[in-house]
């Protein structure tokens, strides 16, 4: 899975050659998108197998026969997945940073070539170019370079990657919770995918349910009930979906990052606890 993500990030170098404008942005969008999607897949697929595999090879019984509480067992599993996701994300970030750095350097030299300030100054001094041309050219070059730097290696970008990681951990906790009561790993994978996918539409459901979208008031009762159920039972995945805008140069404040992180940790705690409740009374 990580290899796939790395290949895709590497392939973004080829993809940007297809794009006739905004190559750096295309590179960032494809790479961050790959990290976002693969971390989601990785979280679901790796977590869904944990409990069924331990049951199948009977490791679970050996562990629980020791003085290990079921909560500790689940917590250990979640910590393991979180560590694996962190390592995967660090690897992807390192590779992405290397690709981005190479591309940034190429862009910098292109901008410098397209704005020959020294030559313009010489032409100006020789009276071959109108006065002020070199200053204008230098201003344009500096503007392009500062724009480029402002959109590449920024704290917001790495904060956005941290939010992707947090989202993957939330999805892992959700998967673990589902697998705590599920009897087949396939059901766990499908059910979690469904919940995550619906989770991306939760803001829409919530707005309509609360009548904020301007149409909620006319909805029949059963539909409102359904939307309310979706809002309450599914996690709001859009809250963690900030990286697209970050790649576009949006600046996310530290306070917003903190709010998102707090919510993410809230999800982790609740899903772990609910998973424990499902697992605690489960007959093994």
């Amino acid at each position: 899975m990580i290899v796939f993500a790395l290949i895709l990030i590497g392939m973004s170098l080829f993809l940007v050659s297809l794009s006739f404008q905004g190559q750096i942005q295309t590179l960032m969008n494809v790479s961050l998108g790959a990290m976002s999607v693969f971390s989601m897949f990785l979280a679901i697929l790796s977590t869904a197998m944990l409990l069924p595999k331990d049951m199948e090879d009977r490791t679970l019984y050996t562990i629980l026969a020791k003085p290990v509480a079921r909560f500790e067992y689940l917590l250990g599993k979640l910590c393991g997945v979180a560590a694996m996701l962190t390592v995967a994300m660090v690897l992807m970030t390192l590779f992405f940073s290397a690709v981005l750095f190479v591309w940034q350097e190429r862009e910098m030299s292109r901008i410098a070539t397209e704005h020959p300030v020294a030559e313009a100054a010489q032409a100006e001094a020789a009276g071959k170019a109108p006065a002020g041309v070199s200053a204008d050219l230098a201003q344009k070059r500096d503007l392009e370079m500062s724009k480029l730097k402002a959109m590449t290696f920024t704290p917001t970008l790495f904060g956005g990657i941290a939010v992707i990681l947090l989202r993957a951990m939330v999805i892992a906790a959700l998967t673990l919770m589902v697998s705590a009561f599920s009897t087949s790993w396939l059901f766990t994978v499908i059910a979690t995918f469904m919940v995550v996918l619906v989770g991306f539409l939760v803001p829409v459901a919530r707005d309509v349910w609360q009548g904020q979208a301007g149409i909620g008031n006319d909805l029949p009762g059963y539909l409102k009930l359904f939307l309310g159920g979706v809002t309450i039972f599914c996690p709001d995945m859009q809250v963690f979906n900030v990286v697209d805008d970050i790649a576009d140069g949006a600046v996310v404040t530290a306070q917003m990052f903190m709010q998102t992180a707090s919510l993410g940790f809230g999800y982790l705690a609740v899903y772990l606890f609910a998973g424990y409740l499902f697992f605690a009374w489960r007959e093994l």
Binding site: N29, Q139, L143, Q259
Partner: protein
Amino acid sequence: MKGRILGILVIVIWGLARLPIETRISAAQKANRLGDFKITATLRQQAGQAGFIAVLGGLRAAVADLLWIRAYVAWQDTQWGKMKLLFDVCTALQPRRVMFWDNAAWHMAWNASVHALNDKAKVPEPVERWRNQQQYLKLGEDYMLRGIQNNPDSWELYDRLGWFYRDKMNDKLKSAEAYEEASKRPGRLDYVRRQAAIQLAEVPGREDEAYRKLLALYREGEKEWLPTLLKKIQLIERKLKIPQNQRVYIPPEDRLPPE
């Protein structure tokens, strides 16, 4: 069973507890122009089912880029209608991307409009061609205005709007106003201030104001003494009948022939 009931209860309590928090975070994100894209029927149609799911799953920017490449192919085939549809989706997916708005406007107002005016093979009647051209100009203007709505801090979009009103609509007043707005935005290049004054100088009845602006630029020093600015100052001084002794110094090589 007890565990399941308790588990569901915890999820429901958490669902209710997080509701105000998520509403607040969503509102804060929208206020900071994050995730402010609209899910539309055109988006579903243009992106396809897989693309639509990809958009929801965190590949919104990548899907927008791929559709943008498709728009480029449509441009090569001069399929203006298809281009417009794709531009609509791209701008809906990434409303903060100034480049999308800027290029969409340029394609419609410059490329498509000129093509429509010259497309004698498909549209023989000159009136029809002119009407088509006007429609594309309107579309271009619309992209710029909507782009500004979504990116009010962008000097580039105001700059392009000024350019559009100047070259395509011959509306110097609107052009001057757009350049003036561009000059107030962070990161703008110096020429937008000059353009604001230069365009205003062409608006009947606004000569005094334009002269003041041109003089203010002139007084900033020789770096602003560019040929167009000096020419405009001389023309407007003649128009306003400024006495010779009150006129600004113009370097000999930039002086206009006597009236």
